[in-house]
């Protein structure tokens, strides 16, 4: 990859489009991957709250469990950035998140 030269860089050690760290895929660091069991998930927002990466996504996707419980929200993992720390799994009060070994 060829990087831009000094003439192409903005003046003064400034990043003009912050938030662009999303281009850096920290998901590659992961050795264990969290998998959310949508049946067990009680939609309490705990995993979303404690994720250091902001990599638990809270999406407006309705879900109905086999037992008939209906939820308006679904929690999903952004695997591009999840580093696999396991805080979500450790803190989950419903024990709905399993940490599964990544197989390459």
């Amino acid at each position: 990859m060829s990087l831009p030269g000094w003439k192409q860089l903005p003046i003064g050690v400034v990043i003009l489009n912050p938030g662009n760290s999303v281009e850096y895929k920290t998901g590659e660091w992961r050795t264990l991957r969290p998998e959310i069991d949508q049946e067990k998930c009680i939609r309490c927002r705990t995993c979303w709250t404690f994720c250091p990466e902001g990599a638990i996504l809270e999406v407006s996707e309705p879900y109905k469990t086999k037992a008939g419980r209906e939820f308006k929200l679904t929690y999903k993992v952004n695997y591009e950035h999840c580093k696999g720390c396991g805080i979500c799994s450790n803190e989950c009060p419903a024990k709905a998140i399993a940490m599964v070994e990544e197989v390459i």
Binding site: L3, W6, L9, P10, G12, V13, V14, I15, L16, P18
Partner: protein, 393 residues
């Protein structure tokens, strides 16, 4: 036209700063700078200047506050010297590379040890690689005018670098001279607030001062080299406009009776007054001596210096700061010698170290300096080590 007031250099600078209407002023007391910010405090206290004045707990915080203020878009000002400048040191580099403009006055003073509040140029010279534009005046009027020049140049979108304006402690700062004060509107029309740089604005977020790893760091250094180089044209434009508007003309160097000179003395700051007086006396005795004062030190006016000295046989460069262990002993001598070499001229140089820690320069001292030049002007070998003027053996 403005009015003429009897002002010490520090008060002259305070009046100039007031005319440029900075939004944020911050400083820590240190002799001989203190009366600049005392006077500015009075201006703010009396409602003559509308600015935030931050009484910080150190010079380190003074420059930190100024950086924060400039980053948020304000015109900021501070003044310091000596140990205070040394304490600011790391921040000088950062401010230059983040490309934030401001004016900072150095009321030049010796660096410890031993602790000494008197004048030399060791503080000024110690930051010569920091990426700041640096100029030094030799009269109080010039000290006043440099503030206007500083804001105009610093905030020019082609430059965006902070500027140091320096004067000699006590010799200028506390000695009263007539100084013409320009109207605030005139000052601001010469140095308008350009708001020309990227700022910390919630409506357009940016990240300032990130980590630059080996893939990027070098490119920012390269960028600054170009900005510094480019600032020279902006300086020339500014002094030309200044002359038109206010009738006082400046240039990167000031030459004195150099046209037919065989030998010349190069220096900076207020001592050049003594040297020019001696030149006049020596000329009466038929000695072909001239003088050159460097006003703009960064970017160094290498071509101007070389051109001005091209017909001289031997040049003596007076440094008022000692660089122990360096080939010449002084930054000014090194830069002058290098300028001559780069121009391919057959002009030799020798160096003097003079006036350290407030030691005054007498006419007799200047006579010694000229005598050395006359002694060596036609010889092949000239002294390599600096000649210490006015020190007891």
């Amino acid at each position: 036209m403005g009015k003429v007031l009897p002002l010490g250099g520090n008060y002259a600078v305070a009046y100039a700063v007031k005319a440029c209407k900075p939004e944020v002023i911050t400083a820590y007391p240190i002799s001989p700078q203190t009366t600049i910010v005392e006077r500015l405090s009075e201006f703010v206290a009396n409602g003559e200047l509308d600015a935030e004045f931050l009484h910080v707990e150190s010079e380190h915080s003074a420059l930190s506050v100024a950086i924060g203020a400039a980053a948020a878009g304000a015109r900021s000002y501070s003044a310091t010297c000596s140990q205070g400048l040394a304490l600011m040191n790391e921040l000088l580099y950062i401010m230059a590379y983040v490309r934030l403009p401001m004016a900072l006055t150095i009321v030049a003073r010796a660096l410890s040890a031993p602790i000494n509040i008197w004048n030399d140029h060791s503080d000024f010279m110690s930051v010569n690689d920091s990426g700041w534009i640096m100029m030094m005046s030799s009269s109080n009027q010039e000290a006043y005018d440099e503030i206007l020049l500083a804001y105009r140049i610093a905030e020019d979108p082609r430059v965006l670098l902070p500027v140091i304006t320096a004067m000699d402690g006590y010799i200028q700062s506390h000695v009263v001279e007539p100084v013409e004060i320009v109207d605030d509107e005139e000052a601001l029309s010469f140095a308008p607030k350009r708001r020309s740089w990227v700022t910390l604005n919630p409506d357009k977020p940016v990240t300032m001062g990130p980590v630059g790893d080996p893939n990027w760091y070098f490119e920012f250094k390269r960028q600054l080299w170009e900005a510094m180089k480019g600032s020279r044209a902006v300086f020339d434009e500014a002094v030309a406009e200044f002359a038109k508007k206010f009738g006082r003309s400046y240039s990167a160097i000031e030459t004195y009776r150099l046209d037919d000179a065989e030998v010349a003395i190069v220096g900076m700051g207020s001592f050049m007054g003594t040297i020019k007086a001696y030149v006049d006396r020596a000329r009466k005795d038929g000695i072909k001596v001239g003088a050159l004062r460097v006003k703009l030190f960064r970017p160094f006016p290498a071509e101007d210096v070389a051109k001005a000295l091209s017909n001289v046989k031997l040049v003596g460069v007076m440094d008022r700061a000692l660089v122990p262990g360096s080939p010449t002993g002084g930054f000014l001598h090194s830069d002058v010698a290098c300028s001559i070499k780069q121009a391919g001229l057959d002009v030799r140089t020798l160096g003097y170290i003079a006036g350290l820690g407030g030691r005054l320069l007498t006419m007799d001292n200047v006579r010694q300096m000229v005598d050395v030049l006359l002694k060596y002007k036609d010889s092949k070998e000239v002294p390599k080590e600096p000649i210490f003027i006015g020190v007891r053996e």
